[in-house]
């Protein structure tokens, strides 16, 4: 389990992301224009897992789905999507297989494993806690005694 850390904004092409976990140390940062809302590191994994909970999908589909579902609020840079997918695969949360798309094209489809399903459940719960806690603070009206 890794911590949710806030991603530094205005990332330039070469600056490394603050390491969210040991395995992401090799990742290079995306050279994306600033997104409407930068993703919290680690939330991407959660989003991927959630997306795959509906069924196997390839990387492009995952990216589009996330954008559609968040109403373009969250844009997934391919620069972080693919390394995240490969890392999840390495950790055994998802598996990959080459299959044909409905347009008869060969694409790498990712499927959630039972381990990934567990991770999704656990992280969803944590995310809810996090949001609730953040909300409490931000909605607070009086200074704590």
């Amino acid at each position: 389990m890794y911590a949710y850390l806030l991603c530094t904004s205005n990332v330039d092409g070469n600056a490394a992301l603050p390491a969210a976990s040991a395995t992401s140390a090799t990742a290079t940062s995306p050279a994306m224009p600033t997104t409407p809302l930068d993703l919290l590191q680690g939330t991407l994994d959660l989003l991927i897992l959630k997306t795959l909970a509906w069924g196997p999908a390839h990387g492009y589909a995952i990216a589009r789905w996330i954008e559609q579902l968040t109403g373009q609020v969250l844009t997934v840079g391919e620069g972080s999507l693919y390394p995240a997918l490969h890392r999840l695969e390495e950790r055994g949360a998802i598996t990959a297989e080459w299959q044909l798309t409905e347009h008869n094209r060969r694409a790498k489809f990712y499927t959630l494993t039972s381990k990934g399903r567990q991770q999704l459940r656990a992280e969803t719960a944590m995310w809810a806690q996090f949001v609730e806690a953040m909300g409490k603070v931000l909605r607070a009206t009086g200074q704590p005694a």
């Binding site: 395995t23 391919e78 390495e90 790498k108």
Partner: protein, 890 residues
Amino acid sequence: MSDTPRWRRYLRFWGPDAAADVDDELRFHLEMRERDLIAAGMSPGDARVQAEREFGDVRGIRATCVSIDERQWRQNHRREVLDDMLYDLRHAARSLRRSPGFTLAAVVSLALGIGACTTIFSAMDALILRALPFPAVDRLVSLAESTRACDKCSTSLGDYAALRAQQRSAFSSVAAYREWSGTLDGPDGAAMLSGERVTPSFFSVLGVGAAIGRTFALDSAAPGQAHTVVLSDRLWRSRFGADPGVVGSTIEVSGEPYTVIGVMPPHFALGSPADLWLPLTVTAAQSGDYESHGWGIVARLTDAATLDGARSEVDVISREIVSAHPTLDQSTRLVLRTLSDDMLGELRSYFLPLLAAAGFVLLIVCANVANLLLVRASHRERELAMRAALGGTRWRLFSQLFAESALVAALGAMLGAVLARVAIPLLKHAIPVASRSQVPGWTTLALNTRALAFTAGLAMLCALVFGTLPALRASSRALTMRLKEGGRGATRARGGRTRSALVVTELTLAVVLLAGAGLMVRSFANLLGANTGLHAMHTLTVSIETPAHRYDGAATGAAVTERLRAALRAIPGVIDVAGAWNLPLSGTRNYTVYNVAGRPPLPEERAPRATDMFVTPGYFAALGIPLVRGRDFTARDDSAALRVAIVSQALARRQWPNESAVGQSIVVNSERYEIVGVAADVRNDGVEDEPSPAVYRATEQFGGAPSSLIIRAACARAADDCDPAALTAPIRRVVASVDPDIAIGAVRTVPQLVSDYLTPWRLLMTLLGAFAAVALVIAVVGIYGVMAYTVAQRAHEIGIRMALGADRVRVLRMVLRQATGLVAAGVLFGALGALGTTRALSSLLYGVSARDPKVLTGVIVLLALVALAASWIPARRAAKVDPVVAMRAE
């Protein structure tokens, strides 16, 4: 989630080419985006540019993904290999459990081979490789005097002083030492101690400092040095309870106070283990004394010096010594040897045959296990072919077969280590107490981690040697063979040649080992039968140590001897008590030169030599040495009386072949001795040596107490009800009552004395005999196995032959002919091998030649008979084949 086999196949297919995989994936993404953008109305060219821009750093992302995939692939690969290995091992364990006969035969024979090797290796490690625990031991040399008659004699302090004074380039430091024995007073009476008197440089030459405290100050004039002592770790633990506070305290050594200045680290010893070290300060008189021997010299070479350079330097020095001193034996030279040659040379000569024998046993074992595996593999051809047909690669088949042999080797090594664990203490305690001091490193002899590592290494080697061949053969055959061929054919000779060669190898090595063991048995029998000249079954010998300062001088020495004799004689069952300064077969050889009085004296280097013995009256009777002429010494032959001597028959015969020696005189050290008696010859120097001429002199005429007592016990007849060893306790009591400060060593009967002396031969004979027996059994099992297998394979053919009219005798003869061929080849090669290798034993043989035809013939006949008897069983089985059954079985 996809199931495992598909997953693995995917990995196999794509895993190694992670880059192509990632490229495909990313290209797909870009193309999809392009297509979407075109669908949204963009021109194809703009769409491509836009898609790539959105994507960003393609190469960076690609590199990240590729490195993740490759890492993952490596991990999976490792896991798979590990899984395969575990699977192979489990499979091997199951399949070994299914054939307990094979497993037992292979594991037990391996255990015997590995156990033998581990035992010998442990012994060699402790007794040879690490017997001299000194830094840069190859720079250490020892010096001995060599003369015409004695090539390795002790040196004098004059030699030491000359080396020190003249040391030029070769030696960085020189030390002299001498064995010392004395007593240590303690709460339970005096304990006998052995130690060394050493020059202060002794420790720095050897390069070892004290573990606690310090060693002697190099400045010999250091005040108070004379009464300081350095303790051994062993004495410090056993007598002082490992108390570091003992350093600085004063202890009573041989009745005199000494200050303990240090304790040496464990196992520090130069050769024989010592309890303590006393300092020696060489006086001016001693520096010029080239006559008093008994000293050892050890020196350290400088880094630049070579052995040859040091030798020539020493040669110059020793020439100068003899030319400056015309009275010395002019043939005397100082001889330089490396310390390890000097201390371990003899032990090494025992280890060479032992190592070779243990190695042979292991080779036989490996050949045997390889044979068993070959037979086993050919029984399983059908199974292997099936597996190959089902998609097993050659590597998988090989590794499964190899796993079996590795497992067998591991089990064999474990059991072998257990065997060695049992055998090593047996070997250790087979070295008699009296001989242990001559075996440096005896205390450290144990199954150690190095030996265990060696065992493990051997097991791996075995697995490779006997696992590779059958595994390769079987795995390649399984692939080339079609399943339907898996039946039995009439003439399936494949692999038969390998098996025969292995059996012949086993028989060959067995013959060589048996020949070696046979020679040792004969030579030991000859030694047991050798006439030592000692005819005293019921005589006890015991070494004693009297406090020298109290009994110095002829009168007091004689007095204490007389008191001891009187008190011991009063013990019921004791007939007589005698004493001596040196017991026969003690391992130390003392020589003297003499001249016959009345003949012109010869210069020292040409004067005759004789073994030098000092004894009390009653010595000859106590040891059962007949006096062939004249009389024994009596109490009247004391220091005031005329000097008398008794000579051995060999000496008398040589000097006075035609007249009686009694009444003649000899001159020793310029003193004249009248010969009063002639004693029968005794092998004083060694059971294996012809009796040398000997001069016996009376201790009473020289003073000092004897260092050994010889106690003749009363036994009317040589029956078992008379146990001289029962006298041990009364002897100790009586000696303590005469003077509690007299320490007393081990009590041994004369037969024990002889038996202890013969220990090296006995041990060699026992070990070689055991190895040869193991070799014989394994080789015979090997030929039985091959013949039984052949008969089983040829049952069909034999059935046909019998159906066509061959009778049982002919079948029997046919099988035995094959066995005879194998045995004949084994025996022939074995005999040649034995003739070539037993020469290594020749220095250890007594009364038998290394190419003794009787031994070789006996061994060949034994092996041939046993091997043919073993083949007889399968041959009979072949003759009993029922043609109907054999042919229907197809």
